[in-house]
């Protein structure tokens, strides 16, 4: 049974298209100056934002891998 359209295809779409939105968000907030990396607190928040993206990517990736056995 071909499960690609039920497993890795939605995964790639989610983190591909979602990733574009995420990257666009980071670009705009940095470009507009609302995320100001000269402030130590903002630098920490940037790390949190990256962590969140990787966190969810790993949750979905690991569960897909486990489900497919």
């Amino acid at each position: 049974m071909d499960l690609f359209s039920h497993s890795w295809l939605p995964f790639l779409y989610l983190y591909g298209v979602g990733g574009i939105f995420f990257a666009l968000g980071l670009f705009i907030i940095r470009r507009s100056g609302s995320l100001n990396l000269t402030k130590p607190r903002h630098s920490k928040w940037l790390k949190v934002l990256y962590f969140g993206f990787v966190w969810y990517l790993m949750i979905h990736g690991v569960f897909t891998y486990l489900a497919l056995g």
Binding site: L14, G18, I28, I59
Partner: protein
């Protein structure tokens, strides 16, 4: 479909009644902290991140409820968690765009933002769209509540010798009356604290049910091995079936839903605005989305997974034909004992009530701020006395009752969908895109003009209506291969079409501003009024479906052009007037918020005792010079004073301003108004922290 009645025992009902009474008493206790409309709607902007995080649980879990996610978990497995775990993509926009703008611009509602960023006309249209969205959301909440309790009720009961059938709508009316009570007399502080308690209880109840359910089916290994592979995958199939597919739900929920929830759900926004500062709001959002939402996804969906496992091993206990919207109640009643079932059901229904309460409170806030106050201003009553404040608080409470009634009526629009999930998906896909696009472009694109936002509302809605009428022609090019169900065409993927047309209209109008200006210089008031009438007639024709598709599409293009030109004529755009309202001017927003240049030097947090100063009416507090030096503060800077007991989460606190210094270290002088607002107890230690 198999449906149920009379599930549960009298013990369960006793537990539920006791639970509800306890929750209402708890809410009423905190209702006494409501003294002004600011308290009623925003809880006085003083709470810590952890309190807001947990109180959001009850709101979020309630709105993305046990009923609808258990239903999808029962039908499709672990992919029911998708919608809880796709919100992170727009968090950068929220944390560093929308949230600071909301706080620093001191807007009380989303429509008020539209007035400040664009124009009063934009506010008017935003108010209509937002009220429709909020009341629809309340309707979905009531529908879910009704579907949750119906399986526990008998089919009919006898009153004074006559039999009364228990229907969904009758159950919802009774629920609405109970729901309206403490929101009407409590306000936002009551809701926040009630939700805080319920947030903990909900997670506990959901995980308890998961643990008991896993034990019931024979342990985790048995449970895991029982489920088919497709049930274990965390994401749905790419484009089938039409009632639950990944790509449709991505655009409906991860894009329109996430932006809608973070950017235009007034209920959630009011929670973030109740945080004591922007950084606390960011923490609340981050912890909630990163950690609480994945746990919540298990909490709300596990009954469906357990039900599926039981139905595989024992179809005589749970038939595969159980109605999806009833699976939660059925599974909970099977795996738990009497009393525990009552507790789980009480937690579920109370959480749903929290969601509805939050939304009622938020909708009342929009009504008071964007309808009641502008009317009073129009009538010349702008002076704010304590009597006016009391009258406004009374109006807020009456509005809450009116909104509750409208919410019950809104159920009629959704009750015929096969599941609450699809009703909610359809609702989100249809109502959120115009506002979502308008807020988003307004915040992040400073060139986005009033003409563009108003045309997005009118032209976007016109194109959305055409899409709803001709989905096979207009939405099909966006369908990613999803089959069109003629009964409910493209419930989810229509969000992509709707978002696309709204962004398209907004972008096109912004990019053609100079062309519009070439027309407006040749116009006078009479020609502008004439064009307005023509545009109004076209919009009327599209709404009431008076044109065949070709003419309707052409008319919409004309409508877009006319609206852009007319709005450009009446509302010239001046970028210098929007400082503080886009992500490009957050620092200016901070300066406007404070009233002078922010002091960003990081000082110490200090502990002190409060003392009352005599007869002072101004909003300053006085610290010793040494204490101010330790805080790196100057006269005129903003300061936050709070009770040191952390478990209060900032309930007893105030925001104020540094006044002239004195010489008594460890003492802060406050006035009577500040004492009452801060709810400070005698002889308690406070901490003070410079804000900016």
């Amino acid at each position: 479909m198999e449906t149920f009645h009379n599930i549960g025992t009298s013990t369960d009902w006793i537990v539920m009644v006791v639970y509800f009474m306890a929750i209402m008493l708890f809410g009423s206790y905190f209702g006494r902290y409501t003294k002004t409309t600011s308290d009623f709607f925003f809880g006085g902007r003083r709470f810590s991140w952890w309190l807001i995080t947990m109180s959001i649980v009850a709101t979020g879990v309630g709105s993305h409820s046990f009923v609808k996610y258990s239903a999808k978990a029962w039908e499709h497995g672990f992919s029911s968690t998708m919608t809880y775990m796709n919100d992170w993509f727009f968090v950068p926009f929220f944390m560093f765009g929308w949230l600071p703008i909301l706080v620093y611009s001191k807007v009380r509602s989303i429509p008020e933002y539209f007035e400040k960023r664009f124009s009063p006309s934009a506010r008017f249209l935003a108010t209509i769209l937002l009220l429709l969205y909020m009341i629809g959301y309340i309707g979905i909440g009531f529908l879910t509540l009704g579907k949750a309790v119906i399986p526990m009720l008998p089919e009919m009961f006898t009153v004074f010798g006559s039999q009364v059938d228990i229907t969904l709508m009758r159950a919802i009316v009774v629920i609405a009356i109970i729901t309206g009570i403490y929101i009407t007399f409590g306000g936002q502080t009551a809701v926040i604290f009630t939700d805080l308690l319920q947030g903990f209880i909900l997670i506990f109840a959901g995980l308890l049910l998961f643990g008991i359910g896993i034990a019931y089916v024979g342990g985790f290994d048995t449970f895991w091995n029982l489920l088919p592979t497709t049930w274990k995958l965390p994401l749905a199939d790419y484009n089938q079936p039409s009632s639950f597919n990944f790509v449709g739900i991505f655009w409906q929920d991860a894009v329109a839903g996430s932006i809608g929830f973070l950017f235009m759900n007034q209920g959630l926004i009011m929670r973030f605005m109740a945080c004591r500062n922007v950084n606390e709001g960011r923490k609340a959002a981050a912890v909630n989305i990163l950690f609480v939402l994945p746990i919540s996804a298990i909490v709300v969906g596990n009954a469906g997974w357990i039900g599926k496992a039981i139905s595989i091993t024992s179809p005589d206990i749970i038939s595969p034909n159980v109605s999806p919207d009833e699976i939660f109640v059925v599974v909970a009643s099977i795996v738990t004992s009497p009393g525990v079932f009552g507790f789980v059901m009480a937690a579920l229904t109370a959480a749903l009530m929290s969601t509805v309460d939050t939304l009622i409170n938020a909708t009342a806030a929009v009504f008071i701020n964007d309808v009641y106050r502008p009317i009073k201003k129009y009538l010349g009553k702008v002076a704010y006395t304590s009597e006016e404040e009391k009258a406004e608080l009374f109006a807020a409470r009456i509005t809450s009752i009116g909104i509750t009634i409208l919410g019950v009526l809104a159920v009629l629009a959704f009750k015929n969908f096969p599941t609450v999930y699809e009703a909610h998906g359809y609702f989100h896909s249809t109502l959120t895109p115009p506002l979502v696009v308008a807020i988003f472009l307004g915040v992040f694109w400073k060139r986005f003009t009033p003409a563009a936002v108003i045309t997005t509302f009118l032209g976007g809605v016109a194109l959305m209506l055409l899409g709803a009428r001709y989905p096979g022609i207009l939405i099909a090019p966006f369908d990613h291969g999803i089959e069109m169900n003629p009964a409910r065409p493209y419930s989810y993927i229509r969000a992509l079409y709707n978002t696309f047309v709204c962004i398209g209209v907004g972008t096109l109008v912004t990019w053609t501003t100079s062309i519009q200006n070439t027309f407006t210089v040749k116009m006078n008031k009479n020609s502008a009024n004439l064009l307005s009438v023509i545009a109004g007639l076209i919009f009327f024709g599209i709404i009431f479906n008076l044109f065949p598709i070709n003419i309707a599409l052409f008319s919409t293009i004309v409508l877009i052009a006319l609206t852009a030109i007319i709005t450009s004529y009446f509302i010239p755009y001046d970028e210098s007037k929007i400082i503080g309202y886009t992500s490009w001017s957050i620092e200016s927003a901070k300066r406007i918020f404070k009233g002078s240049t922010p002091n960003e030097n990081e000082g110490e947090k200090i502990m002190l005792q409060w003392r009352l100063k005599d007869g002072s009416e101004n909003d300053n507090v006085s610290f010793s010079r040494n204490d101010m030096n330790r805080m790196m503060a100057n006269t005129g800077d903003l300061v936050y004073l709070c009770d040191t007991r952390r478990w209060l989460g900032g309930l007893k606190s105030i925001h104020t301003v540094y006044g002239e210094s004195h010489n008594e270290d460890g003492v802060v002088y406050i006035n009577k108004v500040q004492l009452e607002r801060g709810l400070f107890d005698k002889n308690t230690t406070l901490y003070a922290e410079k804000e900016m």
